[in-house]
């Protein structure tokens, strides 16, 4: 840890409480935080703990844009934030939102970086100088004249960061940088952020995936739960108190705290079964662009398969072909032995329930009842059957216990409930296999585990696309890795963890390293909690045997 800072804090919160006017809900309660130059603060906690609200307090959106009652003191640049406009605060605090797609407003990279300095009414020469400076600094000079609409997610994130740096803030707040679907790009961003801090800046990172952030040596960690501060101090102290089943901690910490781990769900490996979805010498893509080629692959009717791979590798393209959302340009795609081209999308909906990443793309009805009935009605099912299928689907995702759920507008459900509802929408058509596209992106560990526990046993088989390596290892019987326009690997989680050649392109987590070090390259993987407990007891036994003198 760095030496105790002597400079004045750039941002200071003293016993801050926030209550939104619209809900009258207290979302932050008695939170204090001070961040000085040269410090990287990590704010963490499970979903809904108040992390995003804290970020809005720091950058001035609360109370200037969101109507909320704030008590306590918020100082930005040594002055009360309430007496400053967002524009004034933005000269000290730069903000990087979770989704760079929504943050970027310029049509080209150059105009995007210029946006902040233009708003500060700087002279044109100064703006041009800053553009060249920050583009060089974050390594995007080659992108300056590109249209922002043509950039990848990772490139967008770096461009958004350059746009923030061009305003020369003293402190940058970053909202869930790892929620982006390109983990390697997010880590590049964090490296740049660390450099910014090392050169005299300061940063606050809001993130529940603690393991990855710890690599960047945060100066201090603020842990929130239900809006209240649970811990504020150094990293070792945080690792001793962090809720093990709620935020993603390094595997070594799980082993050390094995006694506190919750029971792991017992999920025995399944047999593959008959082939449900097959690709025969298939090439898939879009007009003028082949994404995947030479595919010879089969997915079983009773297995749980994770499709893993870097962003843009073609994971979604692969599984969309099962629903004819993508047609093969070469070869064949077969469903239950028959060419998919002979089936209509509606008839395929009773074989595959396809769940898109964003629940908002499906919800349009006035009530949950109507939303659930939309699919079955398109299948021309009788009213009684629609009613029964809707109830079954709600029960499968544990939404049936919600009071008055059927008459509620779908958009009034929480984000987690909306996600479960979209699974129910697919289940209402009684499919044999669920296909989930990035089912847990941006969700904390607890929400992810609960969601996957609900859905993994609702149908005969589940195929899911993810960039979360640990989720693939934990929830799947088999992992298919897509990279470079082809199937790069196909095997059991243990086999994939032992394939060292894959981990240059994928994010190697502490769990992957532990599996490789402790388990054979074949056979089923235990749940990480069970593995941690096992390793802890092994280590205790070896300690005992070391202490016991040989007879």
């Amino acid at each position: 840890m760095t030496a105790p800072p002597t400079t004045e804090p750039l941002v200071e919160l003293r016993d801050v409480t926030v209550q939104y006017a619209s809900t009258q809900q207290t979302v932050l309660d008695g939170v204090s935080l001070a961040v000085r130059p040269g410090e990287l603060a990590l704010v963490t906690g499970p979903s809904g703990c108040g992390k995003s609200t804290l970020l809005r307090v720091v950058n001035g959106l609360i109370p200037h844009s969101y109507r909320a009652g704030v008590t306590g003191e918020v100082l930005v640049g040594g002055k009360p934030a309430a007496g400053q406009t967002i524009r004034q605060i933005s000269a000290v605090v730069g903000t990087l939102l979770q989704d760079p797609q929504r943050q970027i407003v310029g049509t080209t990279v150059r105009t995007e970086i210029a946006f902040g300095p233009e708003n500060l009414a700087l002279p044109r020469d100064e703006i041009r100088h800053r553009i060249d400076e920050v583009a060089g600094r974050v390594g995007i000079t080659h992108l300056l004249d590109r249209a922002t609409s043509q950039l990848s997610g990772g490139e967008l994130q770096m461009v958004a960061f350059a746009g923030v740096l061009a305003m020369r803030p003293s402190l940058v707040v970053v909202d869930e940088p790892l929620a982006n679907l390109d983990p390697s790009a997010s880590l590049r961003l964090l490296r740049e952020l660390r450099r910014f801090v090392d050169e005299g800046g300061a940063a606050i990172v809001v993130e529940h995936r603690v393991e990855e952030i710890l690599e960047f040596a945060p100066s201090h960690v603020l842990l929130l739960a239900g809006g209240r501060p649970v811990y504020h101090g150094d990293v070792p102290g945080f690792l001793r108190v962090a809720p093990v089943g709620q935020v993603k901690l390094p595997f070594g910490t799980l082993v050390e705290r094995a006694a506190e781990l919750p029971e792991a769900p017992d999920r025995p490996a399944r047999e593959r079964g008959a082939v449900r979805l097959a690709y025969e010498k298939a090439a898939l893509g879009y007009p003028g662009r082949t994404v995947l080629s030479g595919l010879d692959l089969g997915f079983g009717s009773t297995e749980r398969v994770a499709v893993l791979g870097p962003n843009g590798a073609g994971k979604s393209t692969l599984l969309r072909a099962a629903m004819r959302l993508v047609e093969p340009s070469k070869g064949r795609v077969l469903v239950d032995g028959a060419p998919v081209a002979e089936r209509s999308i509606i008839s395929l909906a009773t074989t595959f329930g396809y769940v898109f990443q964003n629940p908002g793309q499906s919800l349009f009805s006035g009530t949950v009842r109507d939303e659930l009935a939309f699919g079955p009605r398109n299948l021309k099912w009788p009213k009684d059957e629609i009613e029964a299928a809707s109830q079954e689907a709600l029960r499968a995702v544990l939404l049936d216990q919600e009071p008055g759920i059927l008459d509620r507008p779908p958009r009034t459900l929480s984000f987690g409930q909306q996600r479960r509802l979209t699974v129910a929408l697919a289940l209402a058509m009684r499919p044999k296999t669920l296909i989930l596209d990035e089912p847990t992106a941006g969700q904390d560990l607890h929400t992810t585990s609960a969601f996957m526990d609900h859905v993994l046993d609702t149908t005969e088989s589940v195929y899911f696309i993810t960039h979360d390596v640990d989720l693939a290892l934990t929830a799947a019987d088999r992992i298919v890795v897509i990279d470079g326009g082809r199937v790069a690997a196909d095997g059991s989680p243990a086999e994939i963890a032992h394939r060292t050649d894959l981990w240059d392109r994928l994010r190697e987590t502490s769990l992957v390293r532990a599996v490789r070090a402790e388990l054979p390259p074949k056979g089923a993987l235990p749940h990480p909690f069970a593995l941690a407990r096992h390793l802890q007891s092994e280590s205790s036994r070896s300690e005992i045997s070391e202490r016991t003198p040989p007879t």
């Binding site: 967002i86 943050q103 300095p117 233009e118 396809y354 964003n358 908002g360 699919g375 058509m429």
Partner: protein, 275 residues
């Protein structure tokens, strides 16, 4: 579907102009052609429009589809207009002539003044398209907001123009994703002839798309506020300066507009010309 704004005329005479010229010219041209009912007057304007369009250097193969759509649409409009109201319109503009033939079914009487008037209307639309295409294809998308702002429009409105181009591709991608999400639930676009039924059938796509766009817009508005947007003073990095050629082009169109308005007032181009 690629809806990224296309900048096609790079290096041409018009692309070297101040983008404000390309925005002002169509306005002056509308003033010039609005009152012309005489085919000969319109042909003069068409000649000017052709020269202007040629100066844009837009490759034909890139805009062939746009022209086919435009010409088809215009032809339909003019034909429908001729069948139902052309007689009245031509009469109103002083064109009376002998019957050439009568259209079956509608019984519309076609005269030489009607044909002349229809040709004038057709050429008016086509020439307007010629002077408007450079706005779409010869102004760099990143210059449009600046150009609008420098014409005196408020910076919020001007930046709105920029944002439209910025978010068009992602909105179309979101539309395609929403349609796919609903197709997996059996959604099919209605082929009914009843427009109300057709409109209602679009709900599963239009509602999620609109709600998501509104939610995204809140984040974007916050992001803009957090980067200091909305202050009284703002620098537009792109510097726009009219050069002598810009002034000459504008002067040419001002003269054209003035001449055509004068000709109309003098009664030279206000009536339908009968050969």
């Amino acid at each position: 579907m690629d809806v990224t704004p296309r900048y096609l005329g790079a290096g041409s005479f018009l692309s070297r102009r101040d983008p404000r010229v390309l925005l002002i010219v169509p306005v002056l041209f509308v003033v010039a052609v609005a009152g012309i009912s005489d085919l000969r007057g319109m042909l003069v304007c068409v000649a000017v429009a052709i020269v202007y369009y040629r100066a844009a250097g837009i490759p034909w193969r890139e805009v062939r589809a746009n022209w086919i759509f435009m010409l088809t649409f215009t032809t339909i409009i003019v034909l429908v207009n001729s069948i139902f109201t052309a007689g009245d319109s031509a009469d109103a503009h002083g064109g009376v002539g002998e019957t050439l033939f009568t259209l079956p079914l509608t019984g519309t009487v076609i005269t030489m003044p009607i044909l002349s008037y229809s040709a004038t209307v057709f050429l008016r639309y086509v020439s307007l398209a010629m002077v408007s295409f450079p706005v779409a294809f010869n102004v760099a998308p990143s210059d449009l907001g600046t150009a609008v702002a420098r014409l005196g429009v408020s910076q919020r409105l001007a930046y709105g123009v920029d944002l439209t181009f910025r978010f068009l591709p992602s909105t179309v991608a979101s539309l395609s994703e929403t349609i796919d999400a609903q197709r997996t639930r059996g959604y099919e676009h209605s082929r009914s002839r009843n427009p109300i039924k057709r409109l209602r059938s679009m709900r599963p796509v239009v509602i999620p798309l609109t709600v998501n766009a509104l939610l995204d817009a809140e984040d974007t508005a916050n992001a803009m506020d957090l980067r200091g947007f909305g202050g009284r003073h703002r620098t537009w990095m792109r510097e726009l300066i009219f050069d002598r050629t810009d002034y000459l082009v504008l002067l040419g169109f001002v003269v054209l507009a003035a001449l055509m308005v004068a000709a109309k007032i003098a009664g030279l181009t206000g009536g339908v010309w009968t050969p």
